[in-house]
Subunit: 120 residues, 2 copies
DNA sequence: AATAGTACCTTGCAATATATGGTACCTTGT
DNA sequence: ACAAGGTACCATATATTGCAAGGTACTATT
C-alpha cells in the first residue's frame, strides 16, 4: 500500500476527494479499496473516508455500483460513473483549476487582470 | 470591490484561506476588510469568513493586532504576523504545493515515482 | 435626512474528512 | 486446526471551517 505523509492538511482535501474519485471512475470502473490505493499514491486518504463519500455520490446519482466476486477476499463493489457524474466531473475539474490558479496567484503575488473579476 | 464567480466550490477553500491571510500578512500589515478585497481578486471570500478566521489566528498566536484611525470610516484593526505565524506560513505553503501537485498528478494521470511514498 | 461605502463583529448552519470500531473472506505458516 | 495478516466492505460520532444573515457605527454624498 502506497502512502503519502499523513501530516498533509486535512482541510485542503475538502471537496477535492470527490473530484479525484470522479476522475478515476471516468477512466475505469473501480472498487472502493482500489481507489484508496490509487489516490494514496498522491495524497493521503483514510479508508474511513471513501465509503461515506461513495455512498453520497451514489445517492446523488453521480455513480452506480455492481458487485463482483474476487479471488483475493470478499466480493468487490465496483462503481461506474454516470453521464451526470461526467458532467459534474468536468465542472469540478474546471473549478479546481480556476481555484488552484487563484491561490497560486495570491501566493506568488501575480495579480493578473482576469476577465470578469472586476465590478466595473 | 473585486469579485470572482461565487459559484466556486466552497469546500476547496477549507484551510486555504488561512494560508492566504498569512501570506498577505507576511508582505505587509493589513486590516480585515482590506484582506477581503485582496483575496477577492483571485478567489471568492465572504466578509463573514475573515473575522472569525482572524480571531482564531490571534488566539493561536500566529498574528497580533493594533488599531489605527482612518479618514474613510471607522478605525481599522491592523494585523501583523508573528515569528510563529511565519513558520506556520512556510509550512502551509509547502503543504499546499505538495497537495496541489498530488491532485494535479491524479487529474492528469501522471503517476510519478516520488521519494518516500512507497512502503518498501 | 437618506443613501452608500467603509469597517468591524456574532451566531447558527452546512459540508466533509477522519478516527474508531466492526464484519467477513482468503492465504500462509506453524 | 488455527492464528495472523491482507483484502474488502460498512456505520457512527466528531472536528473543522466557510458562509449567510444579521447587527453596529463612522464618513461622505445627494
Amino acid at each position: 500500500m502506497y502512502t503519502v505523509s499523513d501530516t498533509m492538511n486535512t482541510q485542503f482535501k475538502k471537496g477535492v476527494l470527490e473530484l479525484c474519485v470522479l476522475v478515476l471512475l471516468d477512466r475505469k470502473d473501480c472498487y472502493g479499496y482500489e481507489m484508496v490505493e490509487e489516490i494514496s499514491r498522491n495524497i493521503f486518504i483514510s479508508e474511513g473516508t471513501i465509503y461515506p463519500l461513495l455512498k453520497r455520490l451514489k445517492t446523488e446519482g453521480l455513480v452506480i455500483s455492481y458487485l463482483k466476486e474476487s479471488q483475493d477476499g470478499p466480493p468487490r463493489k465496483y462503481y461506474q460513473i454516470t453521464e451526470f457524474g461526467k458532467e459534474k466531473k468536468e465542472k469540478l475539474v474546471a473549478e479546481w483549476n480556476e481555484f488552484a490558479m487563484g491561490v497560486s496567484n495570491l501566493l506568488y503575488n501575480r495579480n493578473v487582470d482576469m476577465e470578469g473579476n472586476c465590478d466595473e
